[in-house]
Subunit: 394 residues, 2 copies
């Protein structure tokens, strides 16, 4: 009577996890400092000190009954209002607290958003390269994920393919900018074109097409790059955010869905998320995390290290002859492998203690991802084995 | 394209929430200290000081990157082992960390457990009176909740009705002892009889029947009462626990599923929970909460106040002529209303600023629930209006 669907899921091993396990085992042999582990997107910079201070202050000064008591089922009102105010101030939006639903990170946000605006059998389109966990968020909701092939030129949007794939059953587009794994940031031009296309298609099909905008990397944008706020371009947008990366809090599971006040049934989205949340028994994110994050909404960790690492790697990779789109943000870079089979390529790299992730699970063959949320010193030490790897194999 | 199922759920208002809103509004009029709000099961005693100390210590001494980093997807190994050890020590079990899956409270635990061991269309039986959120946990998983009528004599199990309702489609029984709303604690005799019946039925049907044991009130048991550990009685048991009540942490959403090491596919349950969790984007409970709770596993808040309140109310209610099963634990009492229509009864009580919850949503007509997790002083002050209410109406 064990559920066969979930049991079967145990068979599919995550490539990223396997690599990470290899790195751990190898680290035990030769010292973890000698393994150049570019596999995991775990922030490597401390949380802002102010966050820790706020947490300690809450614990010391607030009544524990109040502090740790049940959050209202749609989130703590003052927190929702603070998030709305911050977004309005920064992006010229006009959210109220009622448009905000606190979630367990962007993962929870996307999983809730897709349930809000799809019915079983509906199609959700995403763009390669894409975060492989989308398969689970979408397919377990009953909707069907379809992947639009990549624009490998710039990792913007392949509009030709998108137009071919849009159809009556399309309920939503799931986009991710700044992008994991490519590091690309959608330009204002891309978003304008996307918005115009979707508005035309909504009319043509006579129903809504939502954008679910997965934005955990929104604050990690490099010098000279602008990251436009997606919801400004298209009313039917649900923005999914996480403090995992901007505040280096991935384990604390805190983020939100923000429904554009002009989207269809905008005033219902948060309440519907609450119903979905009840059913999975997930309810709200921890009360103390809601309260603490609300005090540091406009802060981020010091993320300059990511840009420093990116610059070092981008220069080295292009010097070595890799074809590579320069990342506009995130802590990922996504070069073309030096042979067609990216898995074979990454396996060879293991011999040099370089842990690279082949691109196949991201929906594009022939590339690899490096997550450079590691110490700069280690990035620098990895260049020599990287050179040797290339020289001795290609 | 808004999902109609979730939209429709917005129409069904929670009676408990409505009462609580009335209480808040009335509190603004006459002062909240004058509203005798027995509606909500929100713990009223502080967390153990040690918990707060542990939290502050983690924040002050641990590297923030490590402290707030991603939890492994099946929970932090040391935390899982500590929970297993504590259960083994206290209940003579033989769990390992691999049998434990940390969840967002007992709600998350039950919602995960039911998905693990049912397929869509399977039946899950529960016993009236029962916690109404079970409807959501079960029905949103695709299984079907069926309610076995109450044993109104003692709020143990109505075995006659249970035998009638067990059938080939029964995948699980969802039980809750100590019980919300009745306060009853299943005796060893009840659990032995239940176990024997289920073992017989498993053979008859040729498939597993699991017990999902919802145990958030396990530590709130009154003098002279024993609360046997359900999983000791029946191998195919998934125990669902929450620290919400025992540590007064309801807002922090922390608990677990513990799979009996002898249940079918025991070694898969935690891993399957991990897959279910990925799909809803809920992942693990907050890292800091997992770590903090692991340091205070054998502590509880001072819960003697609940027993004190129970004794005061039980005496007064029986003196006033209410028929009432004496609670063995929890912070609820569930007397028979003085008229058939419990909703009408509770509405009349509102005129005396007594907020009582009619039993209809718990699956038994004609009773009412009082949640006495409030100050003893307030319980005492409520006795006079309670007397007036009874005298003037019945």
């Amino acid at each position: 009577m064990i559920n066969e669907q979930y049991k079967k899921m145990l068979e599919g091993k995550s490539v990223i996890r396997e690599l990470s396990e290899f790195a751990t085992a190898r680290g035990k042999e030769i010292g973890y400092e000698n393994v150049f582990d570019y596999s995991l997107g775990n922030p490597s910079v401390p949380v802002p000190e102010k966050f820790t201070e706020v947490m300690i202050d809450l614990l010391k000064t607030k009544s524990s009954i109040e502090l740790h008591g049940y959050s209202p089922s749609l989130g703590i009102a003052s927190v929702k209002e603070a998030i709305a105010d911050s977004l309005n101030r920064r992006f010229g939006m006009d959210y109220t607290g009622n448009h905000i639903f606190p979630t367990t990170g962007a993962a929870g946000a996307v999983a809730h958003a897709v349930r809000c605006i799809t019915h079983p059998g509906d199609e959700v389109l995403t763009f390669a390269p894409y975060f492989p966990e989308y398969n689970l968020y979408i397919n377990m909701s009953g909707a069907v994920l379809k992947v639009v092939p990549a624009d490998t030129e710039n990792f913007q949007i392949n509009f030709e393919k998108l137009e071919e794939m849009l159809n009556e059953k399309t309920a939503a587009l799931l986009i991710n900018t700044p992008n994991n794994p490519s590091g690309a940031v959608y330009s204002g031009e891309t978003l304008t074109k996307l918005s115009e296309l979707l508005m035309r298609k909504q009319k043509e099909y006579g129903h809504d097409i939502f954008i679910i905008s997965d934005e955990p990397y929104r604050e990690i944008v490099f010098d000279g790059v602008e990251a436009p706020y997606v919801s400004k371009f298209y009313d039917n947008t649900l923005s999914c955010y996480s403090y995992s990366k901007s505040l280096s809090l991935p384990g604390e599971r805190i983020g939100y869905v923000a429904a554009n006040p002009r989207c269809t049934d905008a005033e219902l989205i948060s309440a519907m998320c609450g119903q979905i949340s009840r059913g999975i028994g997930h309810n709200c994110p921890p009360s103390i995390m809601q309260l603490a994050v609300a005090e540091v909404l406009d802060l981020t960790s010091d993320m300059s290290i990511y840009e420093k690492n990116m610059n070092i790697l981008y220069k080295e990779l292009t010097d070595l002859g890799f074809s590579c789109v320069r990342p506009g943000g995130t802590f990922y870079i996504f070069p073309k492998a030096l042979e067609e089979d990216a898995v074979a390529f990454c396996k060879k790299a293991l011999k040099y203690d370089l842990i690279l992730v082949p691109s196949d699970t991201f929906g594009v063959p022939g590339y690899f991802r490096m997550a450079y949320c590691i110490d700069t010193e280690k990035v620098e030490r990895s260049l020599e084995p990287l050179r040797r790897f290339v020289k001795e194999n290609y």
